[in-house]
Symmetry: C2
Subunit: 196 residues, 2 copies
C-alpha cells in the first residue's frame, strides 16, 4: 500500500529506548536519535508525535518489559534466588548491553523530577512494580517456610525497593555493571541473613 519504514516498529522502539537510556532525554537530540536508531525526524513527528511522545512510549515499553521479567528472575521461593538477583545485576554477561547505564526510569525521574506529569505517572507505576515484585518474592519465600519469623516483611520490602534503586544509580555513575558489585554483594548477604 505504501512505502515501508527503514526500521520496523519494534526495533525502532527498542533502539529509541536504548538511546534515551544511555544519553538521557535532554542530552539526546532528535538528529542524534535519528542517527542511532534509524527513526527519521519526519517519522518522529508523524507517527510518534514528537520527541516527548516517543520518550513516554519507550518508558511504557521499558516498564512492560520490567513487569514481564522481574518477578520470574528474582522469585522462586528461595532466598538465594532473590539475593542472587542483585549479584546478577552486576554481571555484564547476564544483562542487556544498556544495563551499564543503570535504569531508564531512574534516570528519567532524575531528569524531570516532578515537572512532567506523564513521567511522574510512570514513576508511580515503577515504584509500585518494584514494591510488588519484592513483596511477592518475599511472600513466596515465606510460604516455603524459608523466612525467619523475626523478619519484618514490610520493612524488608521497602528496604529492597530503595536498595535496588541505589544499586542502579551506582552502576550508572560508572557506566559499568561491575561497579555495583560491592553494594550488590552487601545486599545479597543481608538477604541471605533473613533465612529461618
Amino acid at each position: 500500500m505504501a512505502r515501508l519504514r527503514n526500521v520496523d516498529e519494534d526495533a525502532a522502539l527498542q533502539g529509541a529506548m536504548r538511546a534515551f537510556w544511555q544519553h538521557g532525554y535532554q542530552a539526546l537530540g532528535t538528529r542524534q536519535l535519528e542517527a542511532e536508531t534509524g527513526i527519521t525526524r519526519f517519522t518522529l513527528q508523524t507517527t510518534y508525535g514528537g520527541k516527548m511522545a516517543l520518550f513516554v512510549q519507550t518508558l511504557d515499553a521499558y516498564l512492560d518489559q520490567m513487569d514481564a521479567h522481574m518477578l520470574p528472575e528474582m522469585a522462586d521461593g528461595t532466598l538465594d534466588t532473590l539475593a542472587g538477583w542483585f549479584e546478577r545485576r552486576c554481571d555484564p554477561a547476564r544483562n542487556p548491553e544498556a544495563g551499564r547505564w543503570g535504569c531508564l526510569m531512574i534516570a528519567s525521574i532524575n531528569a524531570f523530577a516532578d515537572t512532567e506529569p506523564a513521567v511522574s505517572a510512570r514513576a508511580v507505576r515503577f515504584e509500585t512494580m518494584l514494591r510488588e515484585a519484592f513483596a511477592g518474592a518475599l511472600a513466596q519465600i515465606d510460604q516455603a517456610g524459608a523466612l525467619s519469623p523475626d523478619l519484618n516483611r514490610g520493612a524488608a520490602t521497602q528496604m529492597l525497593v530503595a536498595a535496588s534503586i541505589g544499586l542502579n544509580t551506582v552502576i550508572r555513575a560508572a557506566g559499568d555493571c561491575r561497579a555495583g558489585t560491592k553494594i550488590a554483594d552487601g545486599i545479597a548477604a543481608m538477604v541471605r541473613g533473613w533465612a529461618s
Copy 2:
C-alpha cells in the same frame, strides 16, 4: 577598589546550588540561572569560568556540606539515631527547602552518567563519603555494645548506602520529602532490628 557584586560570593554559590539541584544541569539555562540567583551571565564567565565550571564548584560545596553534617546527624552511638536519620529525611521541617528535590549529586550522576570526568570524580567522592559515614555510624553503635553480633557490618553498610540513594530518588520523583516516608520507615525498622 571596584564595584561590588549584586550577590555576595557565598549566597551566589548557595543559590546556584539550589537552582542546579531543582532543575538539573541541562534544564537550567544561564539566563534562568541569572534570574534565580543574581549571578550575572557576565560574572558567570569572568569569575566562575562558565556554566560547567560553576556547576562543578556547587558540587564540591554540596559535598563539603554533606561531609560536615552527615556523620554528626546520624551517629551518636545509638541505633535509634541512625534509624531516625532516615525518618527525619522525610520531614519537610527538618530539611532545607531544596531537600524536596532529592540529592544534587544523585541527580547529577543521572544527568551525566560517565560522560563528564569532573562529575564522575565527585560521584566517587560521594559514594565514598556515604560508605564511610554509615560504616562510622555503625562502628560507634558497635563500640557502645548496641549492635547484634549476628549483623554483617560490611553488608549492612553497603545496604545503607544503596538505600539512602534510593530514598532520595523517590523523594525527587514526587518533589516532596514526605513521599519517602514509607521507604524511610521501612529502613528505620530494619536498622532498629539490628540491636543486640
